[in-house]
């Protein structure tokens, strides 16, 4: 196959090159759309001292929580880290560094990182602790703070469908941070529920073009639900 065939046949191959001390960007929102198989492989490898950039940090034994339990995470950059007792414990005992970042700013930092924009102004966080140490500037009479972009050594992404070239489509709200993460990885690894041949996807309907993706692997993990809320019929 061509140099554009990015499909690898194991999670091990998908994450070759992940090393201690690296920054990993992960897609997902809560437990929705998380790259669980890739997270499990990081756990298996036992890579230490990681910085993880992800909106949330999973729950105690699922999502990025798996890496927390394993004490592989040195620093988290997230907007919300509730629902996770092990995170609490490690944070309170000073084992874990945490940089809280507003959710929209985090998403934009990743998109900007992927788009080669080193920094942007946003009103979010002006006048709060988030603004500490950051430039403040007024545009049209309103105050904004300067936020720098984020990139990662690896980005871990979960897609519904990927083709061999790495073109991705996400399902429903499992999209969330995945396209932003995909842009921000020096090496972006996609686990996909379905892998198809190039040409199967409509070029205009691709969420993440393959240019952002270096490796594709077949996913297998179950999908868990964080809060199952039901309308009784």
């Amino acid at each position: 196959m061509s140099g554009f065939n990015k499909v690898v046949d194991s999670f091990e191959a998908a994450l070759e090159g992940v090393e201690d001390g690296m920054t990993l960007v992960s897609g997902g929102f809560g437990l929705c759309g998380i790259p669980q198989d890739l997270i499990n492989e990081i756990a298996r490898r036992g890579t230490k001292n990681l910085t993880v950039v992800s909106n949330n940090c999973g729950v105690d034994e699922w999502g990025l929580g798996v890496l927390l339990v394993n004490k592989q995470v040195a620093k988290a950059i997230s907007s919300y880290v509730g629902e996770n007792k092990e995170f609490e414990r490690q944070y309170l005992e000073g084992e874990l560094e945490l940089t809280l970042t507003p959710q929209g700013t985090l998403a934009e930092k990743l998109r900007a990182g992927g788009a080669g924009i080193p920094a942007f102004y946003t009103a979010t966080g002006y006048g709060t602790v988030v603004a500490e140490g950051k430039d403040v500037r007024a545009f049209n009479g309103k105050k904004y703070i300067l936020e720098e972009s984020i990139t990662g050594d690896f980005a871990l992404v979960h897609a519904k469908i990927a083709d061999h070239y790495g073109n991705c489509i996400y399902n429903a709200t499992a999209q969330n941070f995945n396209p932003c993460a995909a842009m921000a990885g020096k090496i972006t690894v996609v686990e996909a529920e379905e892998i198809v041949a190039p040409g199967e996807l409509d070029p205009s309907q691709i969420h993440t073009p393959g240019i952002y993706v270096q490796r594709v692997v077949q996913s297998k993990a179950e999908k868990r639900i964080e809060f199952r809320t039901i309308t009784e019929v």
């Binding site: 929102f29 809560g30 437990l31 929705c32 759309g33 909106n55 997230s78 907007s79 919300y80 880290v81 509730g82 609490e88 944070y91 309170l92 945490l98 809280l100 507003p102 959710q103 929209g104 700013t105 985090l106 998403a107 934009e108 990743l110 998109r111 946003t122 009103a123 979010t124 966080g125 002006y126 006048g127 709060t128 602790v129 988030v130 105050k143 519904k160 399902n171 429903a172 709200t173 499992a174 999209q175 969330n176 941070f177 995945n178 396209p179 932003c180 969420h207 999908k223 868990r224 639900i225 964080e226 809060f227 199952r228 809320t229 039901i230 309308t231 009784e232 019929v233």
Partner: protein
Amino acid sequence: MPLTREQMAERVARELQDGYYVNLGIGIPTLVANYIPDDIEVMLHSENGLLGMGPFPTEDQVDPDMVNAGKQTVTATTGASIFSSADAFAMIRGGHVDFTVLGAFEVDTQGNIASWMIPGKLVKGMGGAMDLVAGADNIIVIMTHADKHGNSKLLGECTLPLTGAGCISKVLTDLAYMEIADGAFILKETAPGVSIEDVQEKTAGKLIVPNDVVEMVFD
């Protein structure tokens, strides 16, 4: 009588207009969805990437890939759209969401809001709250007028770490509906049976009482 949570939601829902895109925060704000008047349509924006959030699914409809910003399983309405987190917050930050309803710990006469962090308690994070307060033009804060110890939550200056500065101009509590302007709370409406003096007593920040304060009416 102070308003119930349901009455607070009902009162806020009266601010809705036909064709509004609305973001409802977690907690009491969520209840507003139950009081959307029959003769109007609104679309609910969920900042994880869904415009057109529908009710919770039936057992058959449950999809782990379909959740709201509270990570609850939901459905999409007819005409919904789904997009990335960056795009979801572009809508908020760009002022495209018409109406936002949020809870808070404290609000002050400068329009500051504290809603995400209580020092000494575990910090879980601001989630999307800072983006919502900074990005939306039309925000209403919905909260109790005082905390459970009777301390006013309407202050001259917030004591807790801020979620946003100078971004709040409308507050509904269980006692009153107020607007914030010129460094003061301006009383607009009182809850049924709640006197202006009751409101004054529980408002620590400067309160202006115009002549035209009205009492809310509920069916």
